[in-house]
């Protein structure tokens, strides 16, 4: 019997793994994909709780999260491409202009 706890635990683990990736990976594109993974797991929580309470509002919120993450994908990939062109590498340690 699958309960809401299973979905929430799966989403929690996916979010934690995505967080580890976003904090430790050095490739800019992989960091960006890890952020997408975290957004996906949040979507799963929205849908599971919306299904649990029998309301469609959770699905609507997941829909808007998808719209925002699509916009983020377009702008993020453009930023990554500009960064790689400028620095010649996708290593985010090269982005140290504002580091002191």
């Amino acid at each position: 019997m699958i309960t809401i706890g299973h979905y929430l635990i799966l989403a929690t683990f996916l979010f934690a793994v995505g967080m580890i990736g976003a904090l430790t990976r050095k490739s800019a594109i992989i960091v960006f994909l890890c952020v997408e993974l975290m957004l996906n797991s949040v979507n799963l929580v929205f849908l599971a709780l919306g299904r649990y309470f029998g309301q469609l509002d959770g699905a609507l919120f997941a829909f808007f999260v998808m719209a925002v993450s699509a916009a983020e994908a377009a702008v993020g990939v453009a930023i990554v491409v500009a960064f790689i062109r400028r620095q010649g590498t996708s290593n985010i340690d090269a982005a140290n202009l504002m580091k002191w």
Binding site: G5, N43, L47, A59
Partner: protein, 164 residues
């Protein structure tokens, strides 16, 4: 029973894809792992009675986002930059993830693991979804359209050639 087995298979596959994304050295394998993870999450959305969003997820993520990411990796940034091990940043991130899991576990233990109640037939249909989208959520919908337009213009400006 069948849905339980399917859920665990899908959860295992999706989690393996996420682990591949985070820990594999080759960026192409990593992004393919992310694609596997998004597709299994889409199937889980279908299990949650929102099939429209499930297919939407597969089209948008596995179809658009992953293809763009793979394209950028193949065209520009195919370097093997793996996980850096042993630094304090890595240890702190693991500690943060464990703390997060621990607090969610405490929250779940307090609230319990409720079973899903059956929902009415129209739950999650495209008709009810669209009805809600143009009535109660009309303003966020319009704001999302403006946001996507701005993102499109921003992406065009950012990827012009004379910018760099």
């Amino acid at each position: 029973m069948l849905t339980a087995i399917l859920f665990f298979v899908l959860a295992f596959t999706g989690f393996t894809g996420a682990l591949l994304l985070v820990f594999h050295k080759n960026p192409i394998v990593a992004s393919l792992g992310m694609a596997v993870s998004t597709v299994t999450l889409g199937v889980l959305y279908i299990f949650l009675h929102v099939p429209f969003l499930g297919f939407f997820q597969m089209i948008v993520y596995a179809g658009a986002v992953m293809v763009i990411a793979l394209y950028v990796i193949m065209a520009l940034g195919r370097e093997e930059i793996g996980v850096e091990v042993g630094t304090s940043q890595v240890l702190l991130s693991y500690a943060a993830a464990l703390l997060f899991i621990f607090y969610v576990y405490r929250l779940l233990r307090k609230s319990g693991f409720g079973a899903f109640f059956p929902v009415e037939k129209t739950f999650g249909s495209i008709q009810s979804f669209g009805n809600l989208l143009v009535t109660q959520y009309a303003v966020p919908f319009e704001i999302a359209s403006v946001l996507l337009l701005g993102a499109m213009i921003g992406a065009i400006i950012l990827s012009r050639r004379e910018w760099s």
